[in-house]
């Protein structure tokens, strides 16, 4: 565990309550180029995301929203600018995997469950990097799957689950190590409307109950309006940043 990031793993919620306006993420002049500058995915982006906020990043394909998510999750490094998590520079983290393991939960559009593992085992995968005893891992996975309504699907393989159920397993997995931030990339993109509503309800409920920071990337305005704040991006720039009045953490 990185003391640099967190002095007490279970203190995330308390800290948010003590200082509700502190920033989870802060970016200044953030740039990301690909192909030696031929593609500019992010162009001098300034951004602040307070702890416990539900924020939606919208925009057309190629506007840089997924790239932003990658940088927030330390999956890639910015070309220029600064990006900090709780005041600590993300590109300079000595162990980005520890940061991802302890602070970040990812939810992907294509679920990305491992096909040869059951729902219960998939949820345990992130916990294998911790020192949690095997029995405790299993209990926690069971508890998380129960919390997303899949207590009857514990031993089902992904191929035997519906799209909505798969995404619920993925959400349970993202919560495995009790992260303070959820990064969701088009989490309803592969779901029908009923399942999409259910997943959004679930994410909103989790965000509010756990007072997590939720950054959700979507190109769907209806999905975005579930967030408290919407940042609209075009060509690597944030062209609008507005509050919706929804999903505000009390």
């Amino acid at each position: 565990m990185q003391p640099l990031l967190r002095s007490n793993q279970s203190a995330t919620t308390d800290r948010v309550l003590e200082n509700p306006v502190s920033n989870a993420f802060e970016a200044v002049g953030l740039k990301k180029d690909f192909d030696d500058g031929a593609v500019q995915a992010l162009r001098s982006l300034d951004l602040q995301i307070p702890e416990g906020e539900f924020i939606a990043i919208t925009g057309p394909s190629g506007c840089g929203k997924t790239t932003l998510l990658q940088l927030l999750g330390a999956l890639d490094r910015p070309t220029a600018g600064t990006l900090a998590f709780r005041g600590v520079s993300i590109p300079d983290l000595p162990d980005p995997s520890a940061y991802r393991s302890q602070e970040i939960g990812f939810v992907f559009q294509s679920f990305h469950l491992l096909p040869t593992f059951t729902a219960l085992e998939n949820v345990q995968i992130p916990m294998l990097e911790t020192r949690m005893p095997s029995a405790k891992r299993r209990d926690r996975a069971r508890e998380l799957l129960k919390s997303v309504g899949l207590e009857r699907r514990l031993n089902h393989f992904p191929s035997k689950l519906s799209g909505g159920e798969r995404q619920r397993v993925a959400i349970a997995r993202s919560l495995a190590n009790n992260p303070s931030v959820l990064l969701a990339d088009e989490p309803t993109g592969n779901l029908d409307s009923d399942n999409a509503v259910m997943i959004l309800d679930l994410l909103t409920k989790i965000q509010q109950e756990k007072r997590m920071t939720l950054v959700l990337v979507t190109h769907d305005d209806r999905v975005a309006h579930r967030a408290a704040r919407i940042i609209h991006m075009i060509d690597g720039h944030a062209v609008s940043d507005r509050q919706t009045g929804n999903g505000v953490c009390q």
């Binding site: 991802r100 990812f106 992130p126």
Partner: protein
């Protein structure tokens, strides 16, 4: 669920490919077990034969063939008087085609020599004298030739009679057709030629005395070479060639196994790149991914090694039962050879996994968010 579960699930994901890879390694390891076992068996059988005949020192010329080169029978008289020599026995041994058998050891022994003494009669009798047109068969040779006491046997153009079946206490002895030296010399038209002198030493002869005796014999008879019996075959050129060929053929087979595992693991890594990205995104360290690939390939090696050992042992037993091999040599497949073979297989697995593991460590985790 543990890390080991992840390793095994990775392997069973592509069952057919994993099975074929295991088969590839198994065949390589089976080749190691079989060829090295047979090669070592050659030496062991020869040494056992020497012990069974009660031979301490062998005088022969085995530098370039499986059977010794002939030399004049008078060599025996030139060395018989040397100190520490209790007895000598001249032999003419050859690998010959006898009736329908492609190759069998035929051993002509000096009549009355000590090498007859260790043969235990199972049935029949010993030849009456050196001139009797008779042979005794080692029990394996009798099986291979399908002969019993009283049957005729043809060696080259000579019609002889099987008068006894014997147990010689060693594979080489049991796999031999044994007859008197003058008879074999007559049949092979090698009068006055022998190719082995078995020497028995006086009890209590020290190691230094044995060495000294060998040196004296080597000076006296340059056409042959005296060697302590247990070292005899190890020092022959043919033994070295057989050993080298066994290992080199085995290593080639193992190399094929290496390429097989490497191919499988590379395919695994390429196919599972999205999965590896997800694991990295979920907080797995790169080191852990490398460990995953190396463990998978090491377990492929271990399983392939175990299966290969079974195939190798079964193959050698099958080969040992074939008429052309049976009775000639006893495969030497000890626990050590099996353990070394499995260790080689694990090493093959780990070495084969190194490049795929390195490739897996180069994966960019941001790919997890694409598609």
């Amino acid at each position: 669920m543990s890390f080991v579960t992840v390793v095994f699930r990775g392997l069973i994901r592509r069952r057919t490919r994993t099975t074929l890879t295991l088969l590839g390694i198994s065949i390589g390891i089976a080749a190691v077990v079989a060829l090295v076992g047979l090669s070592r068996g050659l030496n062991k059988s020869w040494a056992a034969g020497m012990r069974a005949r009660g031979t301490d020192v062998v005088v022969s010329n085995m530098t370039s063939s499986l059977v010794p080169k002939p030399f004049n029978a008078t060599v025996r008289d030139r060395i018989a008087h040397l100190p520490h020599i209790a007895a000598t026995c001249s032999l003419l041994v050859d690998l010959m085609s006898v009736e329908n058998t492609e190759m069998i050891m035929v051993s002509g022994r000096e009549w009355g020599g000590f090498t007859w003494a260790n043969l235990k009669l199972i049935s029949g009798r010993m030849p009456n004298d050196a001139q009797e047109k008779a042979v005794v068969l080692g029990r394996t040779a009798a099986d291979v030739l399908k002969k019993k006491v009283g049957d005729p046997i043809q060696i080259e153009t000579a019609e002889l009679k099987v008068v006894g079946i014997v147990d010689g206490n060693a594979w080489v002895e049991n796999g031999s057709v044994i007859l008197s030296l003058p008879l074999l010399q007559e049949i092979t038209d090698d009068q006055d030629r022998i190719n082995v002198i078995d020497v028995r030493l006086t009890p209590g002869t020290s190691r230094a005395d044995v060495q000294s005796l060998c040196e004296q014999i080597n000076q006296l008879v340059p056409e042959a070479r005296a060697i302590v019996a247990s070292e005899n075959l190890n020092q022959s050129e043919i033994s070295r060639i057989v050993g080298a060929m066994s290992w080199s053929t085995s290593l080639l087979a193992v190399l094929v196994g290496v390429l097989g595992v490497m191919n499988t693991m590379l395919m695994n890594v390429f196919e599972r790149t999205p999965e590896i990205c997800v694991l990295l995104a979920l907080g797995w360290k790169r080191r852990r991914i490398v460990e995953l690939v190396l463990w998978e390939s090491a377990i492929l090696g271990l399983l392939g090694g175990i299966i290969g050992v079974f195939i190798g042992v079964a193959g050698v037993r099958l080969l040992g039962a074939t008429p052309s091999i049976r009775g000639l040599l006893e495969p030497d497949i000890g626990i050590r050879l099996l353990a070394v073979s499995v260790a080689i297989a694990i090493l093959v697995g780990v070495v084969s996994g190194l490049y795929p593991a390195w490739r897996s460590s180069r994966v960019t985790p941001s790919q997890a968010l694409h598609g």
